[in-house]
């Protein structure tokens, strides 16, 4: 399943960091952060609950880039 979220982040490199962090989160199959559109497209693994996974993604992103925001 794929979902798209709006995000807020200040620099292109920070967006890359968020992408890396989201990819490493359990339950996330793939993730693409588009700095241009301020969007995060997340592909979830089958049988996971996107809401719970996104909480983890947000936590992990905050770790690498404190200033970011994901609008869930």
């Amino acid at each position: 399943m794929k979902k798209s979220y709006k995000i807020e982040v200040d620099c292109a490199n920070c967006a890359n960091k968020m992408e890396e962090a989201a990819k490493k989160t359990a339950g996330v199959k793939d993730c693409v952060v588009n700095f241009m559109a301020l969007k995060m497209n997340v592909e979830f693994e089958d049988g996971t609950d996107p809401k719970a996974v996104m909480q983890e993604v947000l936590k992990n992103c905050k770790k690498v880039e404190d200033d970011c925001e994901i609008f869930l």
């Binding site: 620099c11 292109a12 490199n13 241009m36 770790k63």
Partner: protein, 673 residues
């Protein structure tokens, strides 16, 4: 500026004012010491007070950096620019505290300028994002469905294929479809970059994402929203950053090793020389070496690179998008800049792929007269060739004599030329019409018996047809049993095709090859007219792939082969080429999927433009890489020898970053390229 940026600006101003005030206050009220450390004035404010006072602007401007660096350490993300800044400024404060010279200004200035740089960068990014978002603004929010005579707005996702939607003036067409009722003009500029509005009449296809300008139209949808052009394009644009270029990869790899390496060398610079001096019996001068190490740290901050390189690609893709060139990823932009060989399809790419009257030869009467008779004779036919004759007559052309061949060549009226006479078809002028299966028509127009058709038709009626030397479909006309001339109908070369080829050569494309399934004579004549050196004709789709393979094998060095096609049956070739460029992609999903670069309108001149945009973008990327690394290395060396002070370090960091960001933004401006 958004709220966050305004807040930052206020913080910067407060801190700057405080810092300057404190600096002068220190001159007046501070303790003045002579070289040997004896106090010169009595009653000055003592050191710890100054320290505390100076900490106010420092914290005002830098508290979030401190917090971020601290969090970074907790989250094991140690070596980022926040950490570098904190170490450098805290270090500078500590040195000032130990040496009791009250020189805290530098530390605060470093933080201050760093924040100014960040603010500037965030502002610049926001600004260019808004520029680019014009392209993203094509997403329709709703579709109008008519129910019991009332319009209801529904989510475009819920509209089923085949239902009727109503699009009012000022609204976006939400879903691809066919006009059932109404006529209007559509603004396609958000999709194609083309500012000329497009007419839409009943029976015409309309593409989602266009803006309806003048009239209400009812559209029967032919696709679901998710399959519509607008969704495909948005999907493409939104995912374009997933494909990273090698330069970007280089920078992220570079940053990964660079920062720790710099921290290690700074540490070595702070410790090793004093230790060496200590061992050899000199004065260690800890303070000065630590200061040098801190300067070193400030200089080395990699922001200029890690920010400007992705920003350049971001701006380059955005700028290209604004002129109707969609690039699917920065790696393709990079590859496009190295294009050395371009192979392209003929029909639909260099030619319009529609048939038009291209000449009238051997006419015994006025060309317009011949066309008029032929158009009337054909006016009940729906054959494409008949239609093109009728269209040519209705549009009204003037004819100019080509001196070299003695033939009449049509000059299309561009609106500013007078259209001679009335060019309406009057069916009442035609009395009897008889279609002669596949060969043509026999009709009586204004009392004259006309035969319009191929040479077989004329031969069957005992009239000898003249042979035509030109390439194309020939329609012969005979009037009252006499041969009257023939009309040449052929695929028309796009008006910009010749310039496109020239522009490609200017853009440094070494070799251009035309691949076509068409007959050799047709292909050769088109190639000659356009000035294309190489032609491979009579190719089946599978042959195109194998020809492309040989072209790929003949490439030189690092150059890249681009294939340009209209995407209808070129998908395998598009995906086999180093770069597949699909053109006129509005409505063709296969092309959008198979290609790496999509030209939204069908103007071949955009091919060279895409290459120029890519070149400009890559030039900026390299400028930034060399400029930033060059200045930094220079300053690092100067810093290590103690020549560069903290102020120079600030320039090397923030100044270089600001310049690199400004340079990166240039990639956005490609309209005039």
């Amino acid at each position: 500026m958004n709220r966050k940026q305004k807040k930052m600006l206020v913080r910067i101003i407060i801190a700057a004012v405080l810092m300057i005030a404190l600096h002068f206050a220190y001159e007046i009220f501070g303790e003045q010491k002579a070289e040997d450390g004896t106090l010169l004035n009595e009653g000055g404010i003592r050191e710890p007070v100054w320290f505390l006072l100076y900490m106010i602007p420092y914290l005002v401007v830098g508290y979030d950096i401190l917090k971020k660096a601290f969090k970074g350490i907790l989250n094991r993300q140690v070596f980022d620019e926040n950490f570098l800044m904190v170490v450098a400024t805290v270090g500078a404060i500590a040195v000032a505290l130990v040496e009791q010279n009250g020189d805290y200004t530098e530390a605060i200035a470093v933080m201050l300028f760093y924040q100014i740089g960040e603010l500037f960068q965030s502002y610049a990014v926001g600004k260019s994002r808004r520029n680019i978002s014009a392209l993203m603004d094509i997403r329709p929010d709703y579709a109008n469905i008519e129910e019991d005579g009332k319009l209801t707005k529904v989510d475009p996702d819920e509209v089923e294929c085949g239902s009727i939607i109503v699009v009012q003036p000022g609204e976006k067409v939400p879903i691809d479809g066919i006009v059932e009722e109404g006529r209007t003009t559509l603004n396609t500029s958000a999709l194609t970059g083309e500012s000329l509005p497009r007419e839409a009449l009943p029976g015409d296809e309309v593409i989602s994402g266009c803006i309806n300008m003048t009239g209400v139209i009812r559209v029967r949808t032919t696709k679901e929203f998710g399959e519509s052009t607008v969704s495909k394009i948005l999907d493409l644009v939104e995912n374009s950053s997933s494909r990273k270029s090698r330069s970007e990869d280089f920078i992220s790899r570079f940053a990964r090793y660079y920062t720790p390496a710099v921290c290690a060398s700074a540490l070595a610079l702070a410790i090793l020389p004093p230790l060496f001096l200590l061992v050899t019996g000199g004065a260690p001068a800890w303070g000065s070496w630590i200061y040098r190490a801190l300067t070193f740290l400030v200089i080395s901050c990699p922001c200029a690179l890690v920010i400007s390189i992705p920003l350049t690609f971001f701006a380059g893709i955005g700028g290209a998008g604004n002129v109707g060139i969609l690039v699917k990823g920065s790696n393709y932009l990079e590859a496009l800049s190295r294009t050395g060989v371009v192979a392209f399809d003929k029909t639909g790419t260099m030619t319009k792929g529609v048939f038009e009257v291209n000449g009238i030869h051997h006419s015994g009467m006025e060309n317009d007269k011949l066309l008029e008779y032929a158009a009337h004779a054909e006016c009940f036919s729906s054959h494409p060739i008949a239609k093109s004759i009728i269209r040519c007559y209705q549009e009204g052309m003037s004819w100019k004599l080509d001196k070299s061949t003695g033939e009449a060549v049509p000059v299309r009226n561009d609106g500013h030329k007078m259209v001679h006479g009335d060019h309406r078809i009057r069916r009442e002028r035609v009395s009897s019409v008889e279609e002669i299966g596949g060969n043509g028509v026999r009709a009586v127009v204004d009392g004259h018996e006309l035969l319009v058709g191929n040479s077989k038709l004329l031969a069957a009626n005992g009239i000898e047809a003249m042979k035509c030397r030109s390439v194309g479909t020939v329609v012969h006309v005979a009037m009252d049993g006499e041969y009257a001339g023939h009309i040449l109908i052929s695929d028309v070369i796009k008006p910009t095709a010749m310039e496109a080829i020239k522009a490609l050569k200017q853009a440094g494309v070494r070799r251009s090859v035309m691949l076509t399934g068409d007959a050799k004579t047709v292909a050769d004549s088109v190639a000659k007219e356009l000035g294309i050196g190489e032609v491979r004709s009579e190719l089946l789709p599978a042959d195109k792939v194998s020809v492309l393979e040989t072209l790929l094998a003949e490439k030189k060095g690092k150059e890249v082969l681009a294939f340009v096609g209209d995407g209808i049956n070129d998908a395998p070739v598009l995906s086999r080429a180093d770069i597949g460029i699909a053109m006129g992609a509005l409505g063709s999903d296969a092309a959008i999927e198979a290609a790496d670069v999509v030209l939204m309108d069908d103007d071949p001149a955009k091919i060279a433009k895409a290459i120029r945009v890519a070149r400009k973008c890559m030039r900026i990327v390299y400028e930034n890489i060399y400029f930033a690394i060059g200045i930094k290395l220079l300053c690092l060396v100067l810093g290590a020898f103690g020549i560069a002070n903290m102020w120079m370090a600030i320039f090397a960091d923030v100044g270089v970053m600001v310049l690199a960001v400004i340079n990166a933004i240039r990639a956005l401006f490609v309209k005039k390229l």
